[in-house]
Amino acid sequence: MTRWLPRTYLTLVYILLYVPIVVLVVFSFNESRTGYAWGGLSLRWYEALFNNRAMVNAMWNSLWLALSAATVSTVIGALTALALHRYRFRGKKLLNGMLFVVMMSPEIVLAISLLALFLLVGLQLGYVSLLLAHVTFCLPFVVITVMARLSGFDESLPEAARDLGASDFTMTRTVLIPVIMPALLAGWLLGFTLSLDDVVVSTFVGGPSYEILPLRIYSMVRVGLKPEVNALGTLLLVFSLVMLMLSQWILIRSKR
């Protein structure tokens, strides 16, 4: 009794988590058009996916947006974390708290406030508005990741570097950046994934001139399930698995 109960429970939880994913992967190789019947193995939906110009275009747009948003938010976030870690200034606590507010507030509230702001200043909705919005919601995650790394940072290291005659620039390059590098990578990856699969904010601040993948999928799925979406989902799954393994590998290597 006491042995099989936890096991059954755990099995059920994992079945609930993984059955939808397995179904998605299996049906992406399905020959038949309807989503419920198995019609044999085929790659036709992958072919259809790559022949769909709008889809491929949206894929590149999404990748480029995620890359740029993650990079910009990592740069700004790392500098913010350094400032919050190193200096004492007025309003520091407020600034720190405001980061959490951005992270914890419902995404849709952030989305409509950004939309209202962009319309107020007359910004054309498109790549720039999407980039600004994505950087905004990625930023707190980067800052918190880097701050966590900095909190275990030995302050005598930069002092030792200065004692040995290193300039600020040399100290940053040879001491500080190597120490916070895992956090920078983790924050960058976090931002990348957040930006890649964001629907809520992008729905509001995205424009027709720059279509991104999640919105494309959303509008496709709303009119009925298309097998192409299964193929795309499988590709995204493989992609995120590779990214996850890469980040874990970097983390393990950096610990040695």
Partner: protein, 86 residues
């Protein structure tokens, strides 16, 4: 013994699920059919379809205040649990 000790974690987990779930509109849109409206759907419809911005803004303020209240309650309960545990 186990329940009181893990309660802060359980509460944090509840908050982590609740906060995004309140604002999502695309999951009920795809899975819930047209009859099940959540707050997120209402806000989105008011802003993007009905163009009734003040109403949408009011709905989102209600959502924000609810969130703030829940976070405050979470903080309070965490402090109380912490005191009892110590």
């Amino acid at each position: 013994m186990i329940v009181p000790l893990t309660l802060p974690g359980v509460l944090a987990g509840v908050m982590l699920v609740l906060l995004p779930a309140m604002g999502l509109f695309f999951v009920p849109d795809i899975l819930g059919g047209s009859r099940n409206l959540l707050v997120g759907n209402v806000i989105k419809n008011q802003f993007l379809d009905a163009r009734n911005w003040p109403f949408g803004a009011a709905a989102s303020i209600v959502l924000t205040v609810t969130m703030a209240f829940l976070m405050f309650a979470h903080r309070l309960s965490k402090r109380r649990i912490g005191e009892e545990g110590a």
